[in-house]
């Protein structure tokens, strides 16, 4: 039996679409709930980010509970930046007990890139160790070897960076994540489909599902800013130029156009198993992108 609805969908052979929601900085969850309502029936799963870019926010776990309450399928993004192994395990137990069954295991951005630069970085585990820890917990033990009274079961995933300029070390880490039990990968933002093709030639030897990351850019300035400041983002110059060439006030439209084009090409070529759309604070535009690209749950039929 599948461990989660998302795992069932991963194994369905359909072209999958996931997206992410960034929780608010504060207690006003109305916008997040609005986005959940907007997206829950259109995508195969909704990731909730974990203090994305090391900026303190409402927690990922809390966001996942809201996705559940509103009838969506959450992917609990869990980084090892802020919690040691006790806190990570405790949150996993809580997540499981409340019906959250998918976890994306990440190391997390460094504290230095965020808004609490003086905080103590934890990193008691890394992403590979977190994946393995979950598999250990599923066997009914905690990481110290003690018995659990009731073991969780999760569909677990990880991230991979197919467009990095030093791909070999990344691939070694990818292998380790696969060995550790990762079932799916949501990649960092992809713009260069040749990179993705090369990566898929390699990754297709493994029994894992790859969802290509699609970041929706709103302007050349945003692309440049992300290149310079956001870990793991590499926007090629050609894309920046294309955005810069957009009519004044039409940057976001151009960004959507680029995202849709990429998604269509990925789907038409059957390059990988799906896409993961990151709208970075503009979750409201995701339905429009899904429709334009002809993907998402409504398009499965």
């Amino acid at each position: 039996m599948a461990k989660s609805l998302f795992e069932e969908r991963l194994n369905s052979g359909k072209f999958l679409v996931t997206t992410e929601i960034g929780p608010p900085k504060g207690t006003d969850i109305s916008e997040m709930v609005h986005h959940i309502e907007l997206l829950k029936d259109k995508v195969d799963a909704i990731n909730v980010t974990d203090h994305q870019s090391s900026v303190m926010r409402f927690p990922s776990l809390g966001g996942c509970l809201l996705v559940r309450e509103h009838g969506g399928e959450p992917v609990f993004q869990m980084t090892t930046r802020d919690r040691n192994r006790l806190a990570l395990q405790a949150d996993l137990l809580l997540a499981y007990s409340r019906g959250i069954r998918n976890v994306l295991c990440l190391t997390g951005d460094s504290v230095d890139v965020g808004d609490h630069k003086e905080a103590k970085p934890v990193f008691d585990l890394d992403s590979v160790q977190l994946l393995r820890m979950i598999r250990i917990m599923e066997s009914g033990k905690d990481l110290a070897g003690n018995d659990l009274k009731g073991a969780p079961e999760f569909c677990i995933g990880a991230s991979v960076h197919p467009a990095t300029d030093s791909i070999e070390p990344q691939l070694i880490k990818f292998d380790k994540k696969v060995e550790a039990g990762a079932q799916f990968f949501q990649t960092q933002g992809v713009y260069d489909l040749d990179c993705l093709r090369r990566f898929m030639q390699y990754a297709s030897q493994f029994n894992v599902k790859i969802l290509a990351g699609i970041i929706v850019l709103a302007s050349a300035r945003m692309a440049q800013y992300m290149n310079d400041n956001v870990p793991g983002i590499v926007v090629p110059q050609a894309v920046i130029d294309e955005l810069a060439g957009a009519e004044k006030g039409k940057g976001l439209q151009k960004g959507i156009e680029i995202a849709v084009r990429l998604m269509k090409m990925i789907k038409d070529e059957n390059l990988c198993h799906g896409v993961h759309i990151m709208a970075v604070g503009r979750e409201g535009i995701v339905p429009e992108i899904l429709e334009a690209a002809g993907v998402g749950i409504g398009a499965h039929v």
Binding site: T107, P121, L125, D126, S127, V128, R132, S159, I172
Partner: protein, 227 residues
Amino acid sequence: MIVAEQKPLEEIRRLIAPYEKVLILGCGTCMTVCGAGGEREVSLLHSALRVAQTRGGDEAHNFLEYTVKRQCDFEFLDMLEDRVGEVDAILSLGCGIGVQVIAERFPDIPVLPGVNTSFMGASKEWGVWDERCAACGDCMLAETGGICPITRCVKGILNGPCAGSKSGKCEVSSDIDCAWVLIYERLERLGQLEKMRRYYPPRNFRTIPRPRRIVSKADIDLGGNDG
């Protein structure tokens, strides 16, 4: 070696403000080599404090200066007894270890730190120091081509680079090399990439139950009977 930086003059002036007679105490080992608190720096700090005092005109400190071979070694501290007896406080330019050993040796007199102890590192070039060891107590350098991921990776992770690595540099700063790219290149050169493919389990932090103590297992002849 241990690397430190002298505290800003204004902070040092605030620290010594309540005390009239102050011994500025240098350290002849690491602090001398890294230029934070050797004999030369003691003398320079002494001059700077006097100049500042003259300009300020509201404080009247008397300073003594001295540099011992190693502040972290009780053996070298007995000779300080007379000097310490004359002052109200000691401004130590030793590392954090030196400051504490001085405090332990002279329990009746306040000891003030004149430097910020930074890290254990090596001199890359003249005047440039790079951190190299985190004293984790469980050395894995044999597995990582002699490059320490715990010290040199911002996240101290053990199983390869994070996604923030860009053009061989760290996500935190383009001035910092990605330790895992360095490790990859070195292991490739050594024909030992299988070491990077291995899984490394979570670190054992019991190797660093603070404060740590090491008791020598060597048979040490203290030579007490022969004087």
